[in-house]
Amino acid sequence: MLNLLSLEETLPLMVEGMGGIFVVVLILYLLIKFLIKVFPAKKLPESQNRQ
């Protein structure tokens, strides 16, 4: 016998959980973009680049 009543708790948890993960992931995406802009990698001199 399936406990259908449990869906009252678990479905909102699924929505909040997946929603929460995507919010955090999007914030991290923006954080990485920001860090890359603020702390750019030093470009190698042309001579080293060729090597």
């Binding site: 993960i21 955090v24 992931v25 991290l28 702390f39």
Partner: protein
């Protein structure tokens, strides 16, 4: 004479079954190389805790509880959540976040592939598990042993044995589970999609600031997750700061090895026959498989959904790599891509998604701790 044979006469069928299960775990660890670092200690532990009147676990002798060494370790390392957290330092020191910093778009797939966790929580609830137990079962879908153990040790210590076995066994079975699940929801043409890799260049400063920033941000969003995220990122900071190579190496090797030995054999303390051989255990093992399958399907379907809006299509198999089983999942995806088209190289995307899965699984664990009361 009676004293010498009291152990023999006290053997139960369930204990013998657990010896066999212990033997199977040891066989899988040695002969099949299935997560041997954990399954071997667990298998051996399953045998010793099921020897009648085993002194390794707490026994009542003349009305007094005599604490067994495995219970001492359990209370010291699992009840306090110390062992999984210490392992996180080592894992953090092992992870190179470079692929995700070079290609942060892959983070989305790490998020999507956590779908199996929440789907399985719903399934476990339907099967009658209370919410906290259902959440502990669902987290098997994080495909991340220490996160599963950490959440289960908070919510359902009694289920730690089957949850750990399911988590580590299915991680070892990723090369079998994922290709099957991917083929279920993709066409050959989709699996042949080629992608062009354009990585960002990443400075060392970014690599150092990232673990600190991610700890603060996720900590502000999910304070309960701070121990999980912070220990992982602390390990990564040891790695990336480049001035603590000795500590980083110790975290990656000695620390992880010592805790893994203790963790495996300690979890076995929960595998006592009377408590372990139940219908519940069978259901947990089954639900663990559901979690892995729906992680894969969730990731793939999300990639297909993104393709509806993108001019430059993503190979949907990348979505399946968004689980935490690193680097196994990425390898499986690359192998599948090359099977369909031997000139298709999507390994770097898959590795990026796989690293994202490592981050997202910990975030998922933290969110569950916060959302489930």
């Amino acid at each position: 004479m009676d004293i010498l044979i009291q152990g023999l006469t006290a053997i139960t069928i369930k204990q013998v079954v657990l010896w066999i299960i212990g033997g199977i775990l040891i066989y899988l660890a040695i002969a099949k190389d299935f997560e041997p670092a954990l399954l071997l200690p667990m298998g051996f532990g399953a045998i010793i805790v099921n020897i009648p009147m085993s002194g390794a676990v707490t026994q009542m002798i003349d009305g007094t509880a005599v604490e067994g060494v495995l219970d001492v370790l359990f209370n010291a390392g699992i009840t306090t959540e110390l062992f999984p957290l210490l392992i996180f330092i080592g894992i953090g020191a092992m992870i190179d976040f470079g692929p995700i910093l070079q290609n942060p778009f892959m983070l989305l797939f790490g998020g999507a592939a956590q779908f199996g966790i929440f789907f399985t929580i719903c399934m476990a609830g339907l099967l009658g598990f209370p919410l906290k137990e259902a959440a502990s079962i669902g987290i098997i879908g994080a495909a991340d042993g220490p996160t599963s153990i950490y959440v289960a040790s908070k919510f359902a210590k009694n289920l730690l044995g089957p949850i750990s076995i399911a988590a580590y066994s299915y991680m070892a079975l990723v090369p079998v589970i994922q290709p099957w699940a991917i083929k279920l929801v993709t066409s050959k043409k989709e699996r042949q999609i080629r992608m062009t890799y354009r990585p960002e260049t990443v400075s060392q400063t970014t690599k150092i600031v990232f673990p600190i920033a991610i700890t603060v941000i996720t900590g502000l969003i999910a304070p309960n997750a701070v121990p999980l995220i912070a220990f992982l990122m602390f390990g990564n900071l040891l790695r990336e700061c480049k001035v603590l190579d000795n500590l980083s190496n110790t975290a990656q090797n000695e620390l992880v090895n010592i805790i893994t030995i203790l963790l495996g054999i300690t979890i076995a303390a929960t595998m006592q026959a009377e408590k372990f051989i139940t219908v519940q255990t069978g259901m947990i093992i089954g639900l663990g498989l559901v979690a892995f399958i729906f992680d894969t399907i969730g990731g793939v379907l999300f990639a297909k959904f993104l393709n509806l809006f993108r001019s430059e299509k993503v190979n949907p198999m990348i979505g399946a790599a968004g689980i935490s089983a690193f680097p196994m999942s990425a390898r499986v995806i690359q192998k599948m891509a090359q099977k369909e088209d031997n000139q298709n190289f999507i390994l770097m995307f898959a590795v990026g998604a796989n690293v994202a899965g490592q981050i997202a699984s910990v975030i998922a664990g933290g969110l569950i701790l916060m959302l489930v009361h």
